[in-house]
């Protein structure tokens, strides 16, 4: 994931080759080739885990979601149509799995509290690859901001959270978000608007704390 990114025609050629390779792997995996399915997982695991983490907010849930996503993909691989976009198909499964987990989590308050506590502890101990910069104070501030954002997102209702994460963090178009959430774009816009207002209220707490000292955002 750290290799140099090709540009122009080379990039499109690479992308086509990648799609071909993926299609070949899918075809082999559909016949029950275990090694091919494992290779498929290797090719897509980063994207699946990152999406799951953004939606669920902690590493442990992201791991569970990734596992469930790949299990569902294996189960329904026969229904995958040749020529379909495998990444899009898998992305849809990932979002559905995460939404199921969010609903299950909100349905059991005890489990939610326990996970929140466990997740908070876990994430606090997790090293952030691009949070360094050599400045300990800045790193600490960044960690604090991330914690508040994560909690703010966790406080949002499932639909608002999914909508804002897919739109603002995953960078999907509103229509695409609506398609993934099985709703209308107007509904998604409303959910995004509400979510952003709520997030702003959360974030204002930090802004108010940092402005007097002059070390705000």
């Amino acid at each position: 994931m750290t290799e140099n990114r090709p540009t122009g025609e080379a990039a499109s050629t690479d992308a086509a080759a990648h799609v071909d390779a993926l299609s070949a792997l899918v075809a082999r995996a559909r016949t029950g080739d275990r090694a091919a399915f494992e290779q498929l997982m290797v090719c897509t695991q980063h994207k699946v885990a990152a999406t799951a983490w953004r939606l669920l907010g902690n590493r442990e849930d992201a791991r569970d979601a990734a596992q469930e996503t790949f299990l569902r993909a294996y189960k329904y691989l026969k229904s995958f149509k040749t020529g379909q976009d495998f990444h899009g198909w898998l992305y849809r499964i990932t979002v559905n799995v995460c939404r199921d987990m969010m609903r299950a989590r909100s349905a059991s308050p005890a489990g939610s509290a326990a996970r929140e506590q466990r997740g908070g502890e876990f994430e606090a101990a997790t090293p952030w690859s691009h949070a360094e910069g050599g400045d300990a104070e800045r790193a600490a501030l960044l960690a604090q901001q991330r914690t508040i954002v994560r909690r703010a997102l966790a406080a949002l209702p499932e639909k608002e959270r999914t909508a804002v994460v897919l739109r603002d963090l995953e960078g999907l178009a509103t229509e695409e978000v609506a398609r993934l959430m099985n709703t209308r774009p107007a509904t998604v816009r409303s959910q995004i608007s509400t979510a952003r207002v709520k997030l702003k209220v959360f974030c204002e707490q930090i802004l108010r704390e940092k402005r007097p000292g002059g070390s705000g955002l």
Binding site: A49, A50, R59, L153, R167, T174, S193, V197
Partner: protein, 264 residues
């Protein structure tokens, strides 16, 4: 532009989710409104803060665990039943659905003549059935089944417990349900009952009027035992009785029949 209602618009504006018209109108308002400008700046700042919600770099151990658990679950999953595997091997879903459709159509085609012409259920003509029923009833007691111009009575199976009889005479029309063995309470359950708001005598009168005779009721039969079998005088009716395994349950099917389809 109303500043109080701008918050939601500004939230959408921060992410570029407004239409071109809305965005330009809001931008024009922002040039003149200090409060809305501050609000827009807050949205931009919170959006920037939201951008810090980036996942950590997952290490190889994380993904190894994911793949290992997935493959283990796949291996541990019980295999599908042998029959399901065989059918999946031999037929895909579409082939299976097609086969089911063919079987259904074949069954429907085979049953269609029997459903259209109820007399084929017994292999006899309606007249033969009526004659046989009449003989059987004459041997026991009560009136025989008489071929009515308005009603045809076809009994697939007759039981001694209840006899439903349709009769016609020049003077009067009688439709009598007579029970020989069953109690009066049970008998009233077996007899077809008119709607509660229609009196039995009114029904009998309508039947008689349809048959073109004087509306008289047989005195021996209580009004509650009169069955409703009204039909237009011009149209012949096909009546099929099916006695179920339960002697208390009999299915009676009364349907209009085209005259040319009724064998004489």
């Amino acid at each position: 532009m109303n500043c109080e209602s701008n918050e939601r618009l500004l939230a959408l504006h921060a992410g570029g989710d407004l239409s071109a018209g809305q965005a330009s109108a809001l931008s024009a308002h922002l040039r003149t409104c200090e409060d809305c400008r501050r609000l827009a700046a807050d949205f931009a700042a919170s959006r920037e803060l939201l951008g810090t919600h980036e996942p950590p770099e997952f290490d190889a151990a994380f993904f190894d665990a994911v793949r290992r658990n997935v493959l283990r679950e796949i291996d541990d999953a019980p295999p599908p039943p042998a029959f399901a595997r065989l059918t999946a091997l031999l037929f895909g879903r579409r082939a299976l659905a097609l086969a089911a459709c063919v079987v259904f159509l074949f069954a429907a085609g085979a049953l269609a003549p029997y459903l259209r012409e109820g007399h084929r259920l017994t292999g006899d003509t309606p007249q033969q059935v009526a004659d046989a029923n009449g003989e059987a009833q004459q041997e026991s007691d009560g009136p025989s089944v008489i071929d009515s111009p308005a009603i045809r009575d076809i009994k697939v199976k007759t039981t001694p417990a209840v006899k439903l009889t349709a009769s016609s005479s020049p003077r009067r029309t009688q439709i009598v349900a007579r029970a020989t063995h069953a109690s009066r309470a049970k008998r009233s359950e077996r007899v077809e009952r008119p709607p509660s708001h229609v009196s039995d005598r009114a029904v009998a009168a309508e039947i008689a009027r349809a048959a073109g005779v004087a509306p008289t009721l047989e005195e021996a039969a209580p009004a509650s035992e009169v069955a409703v079998l009204a039909a237009p005088a011009e149209r012949k009716m096909l009546r099929i009785e099916l006695q179920t395994g339960d002697p208390n349950v009999r299915i009676i099917w009364l349907t209009p029949q085209e005259p040319e389809k009724l064998p004489r």
